[in-house]
Symmetry: C2
Subunit: 168 residues, 2 copies
């Protein structure tokens, strides 16, 4: 897997990420799900947007907008920053990707379909970023906000450190 991953993707985004699974399946699943979701909602997952989604999904590392732009430029000469940001904005508004605020980078959403803010474990060694969905954490967030009389809308949780493999 690691070899194929490296072969099909020369971008630095995946250079270090731990990939012990068949990542092509991740991509295929994500794209198929995205198509279903957009069709059901009556919004357009255009070829451009799908291509951007595919690029974001090339690894489990958050990808910067300009990295997406570089990659997109190979097949789409006209690509400019607004091209990419507009696609990223669309994908975020449909809950298909997340922005990792602490890295100014974007990551495919593994829970696409359900609207949620996302909770992330970011390894600063290999870059791999795992999205988790912890009900207790969710509850704790809601309780903390409630206690302060605060109406929570977006709840961002980004934990950086070392993933299990890098810590070992």
């Amino acid at each position: 897997m690691a070899a194929r991953d490296a072969a099909q993707n020369a971008s630095p985004a995946t250079a270090q990420a731990h990939q012990s699974h068949d990542h092509r399946e991740c991509i295929d699943d994500a794209l198929a799900r995205a198509r279903d979701i957009c069709a059901a909602r009556g919004v357009q997952l255009t070829p451009l947007r799908e291509k951007v989604l595919q690029i974001v999904w090339r690894s489990h590392k958050p990808v910067g907008a300009y990295e997406v732009l570089d990659e997109l430029s190979r097949s789409h000469k006209a690509a400019r920053p607004p091209t990419v940001y507009r696609a990223l904005d669309f994908l975020m508004s449909e809950g298909l990707i997340h922005k990792i605020e602490s890295l100014n980078a974007y990551l495919g959403c593994t829970e696409a379909g359900a609207t949620h803010s996302g909770q992330f474990l970011i390894c600063h060694q290999c870059g791999a970023t795992e999205e988790i969905s912890d009900p207790k954490l969710e509850t704790a967030l809601d309780q903390a906000a409630k206690r302060a009389g605060f109406v929570a809308e977006r709840k961002m949780v980004e934990i950086s450190g070392l993933c299990a493999r890098c810590a070992a």
Copy 2:
């Protein structure tokens, strides 16, 4: 207080923030605490760094680095971006301020002295940002990381929504 706050501070940072308390006390306390902490640690809270800390503390709204720069320039003509970023880096490394990642802005730490990552309630209406320290939330974060075999180093929690006053 609102009147004095407006008078002593023309920066947009405080334009909307709810300030029902004597904010001058906040600033004075924060600066005094910072001096104590730095003295105890044998690190230099230079006049420049103290001035930057004071500017960050002018309100309970996170302040952008270039806003700090504008303000600092009034008294310190030589100020440039690196001047500000170096001071901010120092203040963060000593735990005297926090960076709010979702806003790319900086906020005075109300728990200075104890090393912690900070949990924030960010009102997108008035901009006021409250730092909370919720033990249950802290536990939930640790548990979530542990469950994934992840070694947590920095735990970022930023909840945006409406503060009690703006929601009312």
